[in-house]
Amino acid sequence: MKRFIFIILLILFLTLLSCTKNEEPTAPEIKGSRVYIVNNLSETVSIYDEVKDTLFEDVIITGVTPNDIYQVGGLAYIVNSGFGGVPSIQVIDLSTNEIIKEIQLPPGSNPWAITKSANRFFVTLSARNMVYIYDSNLNLIDSIKIGKWPEGIIYYKNSIFIASSGLKPDYTYDVGYVYVLKNPDSIPIIDSIPVKTNPQDFAVSPEGEVFVLCTGDYNIQDGWILEIDPESLLIVDSLHIGGYPGDITYAQQRIFASDWFNGLLIYDLATGKDTIIPTGYGSSRLFAKDEKVYLTIFSGSEMNYLLILDVLDYTIEKKVELGVGKGAQAVLVYKEEL
């Protein structure tokens, strides 16, 4: 009987030992220039401190399948698409790296991206073919039906530009459109422009140019970049870049487009010269800040990377290891005044 009691006690002791609470990630204090990397697969945000050359892994736990990050002042907004859970928008205080607010979006709506006009937020809900409009405190104001499977969204010169990819339930594509909401802070006026197949994202230049990236259908139609005049809403130029590019950004009179298989494609608007930087499989999302371009390299099974490139001479200044199987995607650079 004593042996029996001893074994019971041993089991209970082991049980209690295993009940130690797992530690939640703690937000480190990071000042100065830093890069926020949204890990789509591990559903976290890692922060790379550019000043100390240090990566803080999984600092913020996101919602389900995070897809976009967007900065307004000292806050960042993460759009969680919600595949396998509830879609949401999380608000992060960039000074503390803590989530200070989270709102739910409609289940199954697959929110894709977010932008802000002067006073309002606009969120594309791909699976609902809609854009939700929120006030600056993320209270829902209105919703607008937009095209077919809207994805990228951007605010420029008092207009919201929305990339309607044309994705159909059988995974083929209708004609792509760019929808434009003029006067977005009062009663928006909707206009549309037919573009190439599968428009996904935008870049704007300080010179007043809006570039739309058309990825193609991953089959016959391949990638294009179109330039849209934001005033007349006419396509004023086009560039056939091939491949199936997924993201675009603009810096120093150059357009940068990431292609999953081919790497980073660069087009110099001044000279007309194009360059391909082979970055390895999985070139994902881009962000341009000052004279650098930040590119994430996505992998579900191997090491993920953040590449930091010099905009002018295209050298890779830094290659940061982000961890195995993270699924690094959206990226944001925040430069805090010290």
Binding site: M1, R3, F4, I7, I8, I11, L14, T15, S18, C19, N22, E24, P25, N39, L41, S42, E43, T44, D58, I61, V64, S81, G82, F83, G84, G85, V86, P87, S88, Q104, P107, G108, N110, A127, P169, D170, Y171, Y218, W260, Y281, G282, F298, S299, G300, S301, E302, G323, V324, G325, K326, G327
Partner: protein, 557 residues
């Protein structure tokens, strides 16, 4: 001495099954079984499958299975009274295909490749059919079921089962909003036939029509039609034992614009003469996805038991010849000893493996996924050890296991989902069962599992560090079950966790004898706390359910 209800003991006499015949009266047989073995009586343990020794349930919606020791489903073999249930196309056994009334117990053995060949890294699970009742009806908020056994004797059993579930149920999401999880409906019909007259055999036929809901937030609206036939025949001719078993699965998967059909067949033959075994296993698939393919596995095995002075020794050496992977050797070595009448100790070392499935090898490249014909088999080195004690009214078993799996196959997302041999999975755990029947009016069963599962040194998805179950019966009238599942990773390579949860079930039951029949009337509540929980992320499980159950069987109390 009053019989303890915790053990069904049994005999192992075939390659592809742990136990063929359950027998309450022979508990000492498995008490000295020199492997990591458990028998779980589901009448005691309850329907939730949480906190059972060594078991990690992985339940979605109209799709789910159980695994042993933190392994993945394809690393386990699942049988129904010796009938193989595993679908060779996916390597997966969907246990939700079976009506719940059909299963009364679970037997399991860790590290079973020397018995099953492939799919033995985790082990082998043998589901034991319910036998003995004549008629049963359950009316629940969600689940409604019915069974009828016009023939139910020790030598022959013939039973029909029916079960249905509604098209949706409500639950509270993480924002505390009540929402509906839809497309959950199913109807299941099953026929089970067992006979031990002349040539012992068992046969099963299952049909299910069901929704196939995607995870929460998915826009997928699909449905499934499934059929499963399975059989097993055994015959002893002189000193030669012969066994033939197999199954055929048919799955029609219907999406809005797409219908896929998959038909698989598996035939397993085994011969045993003295300590020599051999056999041939054939798998075939005809699928709209991977077309028509087949593979074979021929094996030869030697088994020897040696009685030493202080320890006994049992050894297996097995060679499998696979169509694609040449010769795969596996072995196991068990050292064991019985101390007096009440205590038994064993330690078992084994090598185990699993071969890639048809889907992993040949899934055609589409927008989302692609198979990988370069995959290699997984290999593992396992250690199991345990201690069993049997005292008056008390049974204790405590087991340890460690599985070190190389070439682990996982589907990973690199733009598309592709299976790769990229990782190493290490699992280690302690599981236990304690059953104590203090008086006639009170019994308690306590089982649990401490588990550490690491994939490439990161905690492995959905594997809780702790789970346990406490089940108690008071005055033969009230039954209370409390199970707990601890936090577990919700994503690979991430600190994100699914929250821990408690489930409490309770029922009040009463036996009434009328003429030659016993009527068991049961009223109960499952998930009393109305806990919102998920085993697999995105697949909420039903909340509180009231039910009324009536079972009739022949006999006298």
């Amino acid at each position: 001495m009053k019989l303890l209800v915790i053990l069904i003991l049994s005999q192992i006499y075939w390659q592809d099954t742990i136990v063929v015949q359950a027998d309450y009266t022979k508990r000492f047989t498995s008490f000295t079984f020199p492997y990591n073995f458990h028998y779980i009586n589901l009448d005691i343990a309850g329907p939730d499958l949480n906190g059972l020794p060594g078991i990690v349930p992985l339940l979605g919606a109209n799709y789910g299975t159980i695994t042993l020791g933190g392994t993945t489903p394809e690393e386990n073999t699942i049988l129904l009274n010796g009938i193989p249930l595993t679908d060779p196309q996916s390597g997966y056994t969907d246990i939700t295909l079976l009506p719940r009334d059909m299963i009364s117990g679970i037997e399991l053995i860790h590290s079973g490749s020397v018995f099953s060949g492939s799919n033995g890294i985790g082990g082998i699970v043998n589901l034991l059919p319910s036998e003995g009742g004549r008629l049963g009806i359950r009316l629940g908020k969600y689940r409604r079921s019915f069974f009828l056994s016009p023939l139910s004797t020790p030598k022959i059993n013939f039973s029909f089962y029916y079960e249905a579930f509604p098209d949706s149920f409500s639950y509270q999401n993480e924002f505390n909003k009540e929402v509906y999880y839809r497309n959950t409906k199913y109807t299941k019909k099953a026929l089970y036939w067992r006979s031990s007259i002349m040539i012992p055999f068992s046969f099963i036929f299952l049909v299910r029509e069901s929704g196939a809901p995607g995870p929460e937030g998915s826009i997928l609206t699909a449905s499934k039609e499934e059929k499963l036939y399975g059989f097993r025949i055994t015959k002893e001719i002189g000193k030669i034992l012969f066994s033939l078993s197999g199954n055929e699965h048919f799955l029609k998967y219907i999406e809005t614009d797409n219908i896929d059909t998959h038909r698989t067949r598996a035939i397993y033959t085994h011969l045993k003469y003295s300590w020599v075994y051999c056999g041939l296993n054939l798998d075939e698939v005809v699928s709209t996805k991977i077309e028509k393919r087949w593979k074979y596995d021929a094996y030869f095995k030697l088994e020897k038991t040696i009685n030493l002075r202080y320890l006994d020794l049992n050894a297996h050496l097995r060679l499998d010849h696979f169509q694609n992977f040449n010769m795969v050797p596996t072995w196991s070595l068990s050292l064991y000893r019985k101390f007096g009448r009440n205590m038994f100790f064993f330690v078992n070392f084994s090598s185990n493996f699993r071969s890639p499935t048809f889907n992993e090898l040949y899934w055609p490249e589409d927008r989302f996924a692609a198979g990988n014909s370069e995959l290699k088999p997984e290999y593992s080195k396992n250690i199991d050890a345990g201690l069993r004690m049997l005292l008056p009214n008390i049974f204790i078993t405590l087991s340890l296991y460690h599985k070190n799996i190389k070439n682990k196959i996982l589907w990973t997302s690199d733009g598309k989902w592709i299976p790769k041999n990229f990782s190493r999975l290490k699992t280690a755990g302690i599981d236990w069962e304690i059953s104590w029947e203090t008086q006639r009016w009170f019994s308690i069963y306590f089982s649990g599992n401490l588990l550490r599962a690491y994939e490439n040194d990161k905690p492995f998805i959905y594997r809780p560090n702790i789970s346990y179950l406490i089940s108690s019966k008071i005055l033969n009238l009230v039954k209370l079950q409390v199970s707990y599942v601890g936090e577990r990773p919700a994503r690979l390579n991430s600190p994100k966790k699914l929250p821990a949860f408690y489930l409490i079930n309770m029922n009040v039951e009463k036996n009434i004898t009328f003429k030659k029949y016993i009527f068991l009337i049961k009223f109960g509540i499952e998930n009393i706390l109305d806990c919102n929980y998920e085993i697999i992320r995105g697949y909420p499980q039903p909340g509180r359910e009231f039910f009324l159950n009536l079972n009739i069987k022949r006999g006298v109390l």
